[in-house]
Amino acid sequence: MHKKFIQLENVERVFVTRQGTYTAITDINLAIQQGEFVSIIGHSGCGKSTLLNLVAGLTPASGGIMLCNGREITGPGPDRGVVFQNHSLLPWLTCFGNVYLAVERVFGRTEKKSRLRERTEQVLDLVGLKEAQHKYPHEISGGMKQRVGTARALSMQPKVLLLDEPFGALDALTRALLQDELMRIVAASGCTVMMVTHDVDEAVLLSDRVVMMTNGPAATIGQVLQIALPRPRNRLALAEDARYASLRSEVLKFLYQRHAKHAA
């Protein structure tokens, strides 16, 4: 439980643009333990997605060391499931087809077709989409799409779940519903989670630690806040909890006082 699962040391990402180089993030030092839920919070454009994409292996780091389970991150791998900011479902496949694609890739060599279908149905059931499994992405709501995206990532049984503002485009009610669902799923699977968000409540409610980033360019980790609230957590009970309120205001102070973003 206390093994360091993801390790980032002096990680830096520099973009080469037409106007010259742009250092998005620099000097990132972070260790995430197995089974830990870590949120990355910061103002828009500070480099949260950049950091997540580095861990996902979608973009190479310009400097520093990145390890996942003791091995260097050189590209994407089935040990790291990604839920994209905009769900990224393939519109020509049904919900089932979208998830099956991932299942087939990870388990297709060792298991029979019937077992693969079973797995796909199981994971769709887990996110509450058994009924809608044969619908196409354009036939379902935004919340359902995000669930399919989550199902697709979960179906690979990853050791790490990387979420980029998974509920950013949803209304408050659906968002709360999916947050509770995510907590339940993560608790059941025991996987390590790194989630990007810009929602303070979401960060405090879901995480074991909240990583707060300074503003770019050359953004880095400004403060890390331990959220020692007991699990399972209940949003209604926490709403009146003094510890929750003080943790929440801690994050707010970081974002709006010490590292406030001024309108350009």
Binding site: A56, G57, L58, G75, P76, G77, P78, R80, G81, V82, F84, N86, S88, L90, P91, W92, L93, L101, A102, R105, Y136, H138, M156
Partner: protein, 299 residues
């Protein structure tokens, strides 16, 4: 415009009849609705559609025919619409006669032209579409082929004919060659552009799932590029059909193009005009058929 008031009239009595049980009311009401009123509604709708869709094109056609008649009036060589119509009726009364290689029915001529277009275009698709995929997928190949494509693409189709005659030593394959070389470019280019336009998100999905190159092609690239590819196919067929008349004029053989040339030698101007309409109508039908096909691949 007439539709909105009609539906309103239908709806208002339903809600006014019985406010207490509005849920139960609509069903019997629909059943009792007089058939005559329904009929008027559809008639009104029909009239509306008529003015919207049929009148303007019809008007255009009339203006065109009037202009043609007027032109024919002042230039005695040119047959007018009526004369052409009679000639067309006669021509199409027996489209599939066969009096030797130089005198066959219009049906045979059309079929032979379509066959050449089909072969030339088919070969072009067979080579052009995979080539487009590869050019779009591998930027090295793109840079490699870009100068050649931009050099060859603007060349007039008929400039390729001598090369074809030289290589194949025969008219038929030379004509197919011209169709092939002039219709391949839209498919290559549109497919390649389609591949580069595949959203990065989808490719990231492929990378995160670590899909094999075959799966990437069949589950992501191909479906994503299909609409672009269909545009290329449509343009290609258009070009092929555009070029066939000219190619056949030069190469001879049974076909609509050579038929035009033959009728010009016979000074049968009505038939030339008929051929122009036939070529136009078939081109239109091909285009519409491909548009319908393309619509099935939209997401």
């Amino acid at each position: 415009m007439n539709v909105a008031p009609m539906t309103k009239k239908d709806v208002i009595p339903i809600s006014r009849n019985d406010a207490a049980s509005p849920m139960q009311q609509p069903a019997p009401n629909v059943a009792q609705r007089p058939a005559a009123r329904k009929w008027t509604a559809s008639l009104y709708g029909g009239m509306d559609a008529l003015t919207q869709w049929a009148i303007p094109p019809l008007l255009g056609l009339i203006v065109f025919l009037l202009g043609w008649s007027l032109l024919a009036e002042y230039s005695p060589q040119l047959p007018g619409p009526v004369k052409t119509w009679h000639s067309a009726v006669e021509l199409f009364s027996d489209p599939f006669y066969d009096n030797g290689p130089n005198d066959q029915g219009i049906g045979w001529n059309i079929l032979h032209s379509l066959e050449r277009v089909g072969m030339g275009f088919g070969l072009a698709a067979l080579i052009g579409i995979p080539l487009g995929f590869m050019i779009g997928r591998f930027s090295f190949l793109n840079k490699m082929t870009a100068p050649i494509i931009s050099l060859l693409r603007p060349v007039s189709p008929l400039a390729w004919l001598p090369i074809g005659l030289l290589v194949f030593k025969e008219a038929q394959p030379a004509a197919i060659w011209v169709i092939f070389i002039s219709s391949i470019w839209p498919m290559v280019i549109n497919t390649a552009v389609g591949v580069t336009k595949v959203p990065v998100d989808y490719l990231n999905v492929a990378r995160v799932l670590n899909l094999s190159e075959f799966r990437i092609f069949s589950k992501i690239l191909f479906p994503a590029v299909l609409p672009y590819m269909m545009t290329g196919v449509r343009l290609s067929v258009g070009v092929a059909w555009l070029v066939i008349v000219a190619a056949e004029m030069l190469t001879g053989g049974v076909g609509i193009g050579f038929w035009v040339w033959d009728e010009w030698n016979n000074l049968n101007v009505e038939h030339i005009i008929i051929a122009i309409f036939v070529v136009g109508i078939i081109g239109l039908l091909l285009e519409q058929a491909l548009l319908m096909l393309a619509r099935r691949f939209e997401y």
